[in-house]
Structures are given as C-alpha cells and as structure tokens.
C-alpha cells in the first residue's frame, strides 16, 4: 500500500518528470501496475474484469501520454484514467461494482475451491459491496484515504478538488461506510 508521504513510495520517485513519449512504457507499467490494479478493484471493477481494465487503462495512458504535462505525478494521472475506466466498466455491466459477485460468480457448490480462496473472495466481495454503498465522488476519496493511505491534501490535489470538499466527502463516506458495516454485522449476528 502507498504510504501517506508520496515521496516515500517507489511509485512516486522521479515521477514528476514528463516521460519521454518514446520512452520505456514498460517501466511505467512496472511502477504502477499494482496500484492501478487494486485501484480498479476498489473502484468497483469486478475481479473477472480487472485485467481487461488494467489493459484499457494503460492503453489509454499510452495514447494520451503526450497530454501528460508533469504538473501532477504520473501516478495521479494514471489514477484519473483508471477512475474513468472503472466507471465505464461499472456502467457496462449495469451495476455499481464487484460486490454482487459474492454469491453469483463463485458458487461454492458448483466450483469447489480451497476454503481459503473462497474466504478471500468473499472478503473481497464483501468489501466491494460495502464500497458500493458510496457514490462515486465519495468512494474515490474514501478509497484513496482508507485503502491507499493517502493524506487528504494529496487526495484533494489528485482529484483536483478543494481541501474542504475532500474532507467533507471523506466525512460523509465514513459515516455511510460505518452504517453499512453495522448492517452487515447485524445480519451476520442473526445467522
């Protein structure tokens, strides 16, 4: 996971320089692929779609690389593209995110898998379902802060929003997420 201080992450080192358009895009991929992968997942791309979404994100980045002006970090810029990619995937599937895959895509009885794997999938699906309760603007702030460990000023900069707006969205997102977790726990306790 990314640390709060962007300078402390390998992904952000030497990241503000404008890349050579003819340069080594593979190096960009190496630095940011995992961040983009988990960002796409956290933003609602289902597990079965995430590789396509990663590919789409980097293909779009390659096409637009000459538009990158170095004013933001490359990581931030890629995240913005990944956010749009995630939105498209969610719209394409006519649902908010990957949460619905919990029971539909991985039925244990039909596709027996090791218990640990099943539980991991369930955990991912549960988190996706809980994140699905947030609208997109709040979700993005929440994901960057709570999952990626970004500082709120950095999030505001990343998203191009005012600092107060970022705080406000995070506040609302936490409140809603807390309620969603409470509902989940209540259901669990009834079983």
């Amino acid at each position: 996971m990314a640390a709060s201080d962007p300078d402390s992450t390998p992904e952000d080192q030497a990241d503000h320089a404008t890349p050579d358009p003819a340069g080594d895009f593979a190096a960009i991929y190496d630095q940011h692929a995992r961040f983009i992968w988990r960002s796409l997942r956290a933003l609602g791309v289902a597990e079965q779609d995430v590789e396509d979404a990663v590919q789409d994100t980097f293909a779009a980045a390659a096409r637009r690389l000459d538009e990158f002006e170095g004013r933001s970090s490359l990581r931030t810029w890629l995240f913005a593209i990944a956010r749009r990619t995630a939105l498209h995937y969610r719209r394409r599937h006519g649902r908010k995110g990957g949460g619905q895959a919990l029971d539909q895509d991985y039925p244990d009885r039909e596709q027996p898998s090791p218990r640990e794997e099943t539980e991991k999938r369930q955990a991912a699906a549960l988190l996706a379902q809980l994140l699905d309760t947030l609208d997109d603007d709040k979700r993005v702030v929440f994901v960057l802060v709570e999952l990626e460990g970004m500082a709120i000023p950095e999030v505001a900069s990343t998203l191009g929003i005012k600092l107060n707006t970022a705080y406000s969205r995070l506040h609302a997102a936490r409140k809603r997420f807390n309620r969603a977790v409470d509902r989940h726990l209540a259901r669990e306790n009834q079983r």
Partner: protein
C-alpha cells in the same frame, strides 16, 4: 471529522489486500498490456517488436520479486487472523497481497493454468516480430461477405489454433457489423495451410501478426485485404485479446473501403462493448471525410 468505527477499520485492514495482486500477476499481464500499448500508440510492427523485446528483458525480474512479497504477506495474514473477532465469519481469513497472486488466484483460476510464463510469451512475441506475416487471401471476398458471415461458422475445429484461454473479451458477433447484404460465401483461403506455424502458435503472438498484417494492408491502400485479414483474425480468435484493436482496425478498413454503413454499425458495437474509451469516441464520430479506398 467522522472517524471510521473500529469494526469498519478492522474490516478494511483485513480485506483491502484482497483487491491487490502480486508482482507475478502484473508480470503475466504485462505481455498483453504492452502489446496493446504498442498497437495503440503507433500500430507499427517496429513498435510492437520494441515493446515486447523490452518486456522480455524486464518481466523475469518482476516475477522474481513476488516470492519475497508472498513470504511477507503470509506473516501478515497470520497476525491478522489472530486478531479476528469483530467483523464476522466472512473475514476470518485475511487477504495477503503477495500470497493471493502467487499461491491463490493463480492456483485456482482455471484460465490462468497452463499459460506460458511472461518471459516465455514475451520472447515468442519478440521473435514473431521478425517472422513472415500471415499470407494474404488468394481470393478477395466482398465487403458484403464480411458484413454478414458468422464468425463461428467458419471456424475449422481440426485446424483451429489454440485460443486464448481467458474468455473475457468476445470478438464473436462484434467484428462483424449486422448489416443485411447478400450473403456471399467467399472461397476462404485456408490460413491454416498457408501459415501453419503461425496458427500453431498461441497467445498474443499470432494475434499480433494478424493485426500487423491488417495495418500493412491499410498502409498500402488495400482496405479489402485488411478487412479479410481481420475477418480471419476473428475466426481464429473469437475471444481475442486484441479484440478492441481489431475492431477499431476493422472500422478504419471499412471506412477506407467505402462501406460507411458497416463502419457505423461497427462503431456502435464498439461503443457498446467498450464505452467511453478514446477509440469509441473516435469511431462513433464516423468515417473521416476523405477515404483511401481501393
């Protein structure tokens, strides 16, 4: 500022790694991504070769790093599981990023089994960039034939090349616009016979060769040859990993051949399949005013 409840924070801390992947995952995906990137940027065989050659040298190191990550993650999983208790039985097992990718997803996802290692596949692509392209068809089918023929019908099981094992992107019914011209059964040249070595290949290698050939036809002003090449691509790779690129190329070829209506339908299907992408925006804008049809 509202804080997360302890239960919510615990849930996040335990399960956020479930969204992560391993270095092995990204290394494996890198072959496909870089091929798509190379095609997206210039579409030239040179760039594909350069990108994949670079890939061949770099992916092995990425794979090598995953072992240490998995070891550390296993420790994290153990400590997280010990602290479980608040958030319900679904989270009894903590996701550990390195362990997921190297020992988890890869092991249980059937479509990943048997895939070549990233280095091997990349090396194949780099090698392929210097090999002959698929042969041009002996008989030129009409544009109308392209527009109507079912992709699935033309697949010859006995010579069907190995398909990409991941069925995520279906090219079937996508590359062929749904116009209603007179069906014409072209004397389909057997690509299998003309390029058996190519078609025995797997993964992206042969797919790239088809797309490069189509682009070269386009560069030479032979739009119909390009269309035919893409049609053969769609037959052999109905779940092709380069389906978006192939369909965008088909659009360009149809425009160049003067088949604007078929191009429009292709664009609509593209936008439906991959909405909001830069390519979708370009395609839905319609054929350019000037055409270089032959």
């Amino acid at each position: 500022m509202k804080d997360l409840s302890p239960q919510a924070r615990q849930l996040i801390e335990r399960s956020k790694a479930c969204f992560d992947c391993s270095d092995a995952d990204t290394a494996r995906l890198k072959t496909r991504v870089m091929a798509g990137v190379a095609l997206a940027v210039t579409g030239s065989a040179t760039s594909v070769a350069a990108a994949t050659t670079t890939l061949a040298g770099s992916s092995a190191a990425s794979v090598g790093a995953s072992g240490a990550a998995a070891a550390g993650a296993a420790t994290a999983a153990a400590s997280g599981a010990a602290a479980t208790g608040l958030v319900g039985k679904a989270l009894l097992v903590v996701c550990a990023a390195g362990a997921i990718g190297t020992g988890g997803y890869v092991a249980q996802s059937s479509w990943r089994k048997g895939e070549p290692t990233p280095r091997t596949e990349a090396a194949l692509i780099a090698e392929r960039s210097e090999t002959p392209e698929p042969a041009a068809p002996a008989v030129q089918p009409t544009i109308e034939a392209l527009d109507t023929e079912s992709v699935d019908e033309a697949i010859v099981p006995a010579t069907k090349p190995q398909q990409p094992s991941k069925p995520a992107r279906r090219l079937t019914e996508e590359i062929e616009p749904a116009t209603e011209p007179t069906p014409v059964a072209p004397a389909e040249p057997s690509a299998d016979e003309q390029a058996p070595e190519l078609l025995r290949d797997s993964g992206l290698t042969a797919e790239l060769a088809y797309l490069r050939t189509a682009r070269e036809h386009m560069a030479a002003g032979a739009a119909r040859d390009a269309i035919e090449t893409l049609r053969r691509y769609s037959r052999h790779y109905p779940g092709g990993q380069l389906a978006p690129e192939a369909q965008a190329l088909l659009f360009d070829a149809l425009c160049a051949a003067g088949s604007d209506e078929a191009a429009r339908i292709t664009a609509e299907r593209f936008a439906d399949r991959w909405p909001g992408t830069p390519l979708a925006s370009r395609l839905t804008a319609g054929c350019p005013a000037e055409k270089g049809s032959r």
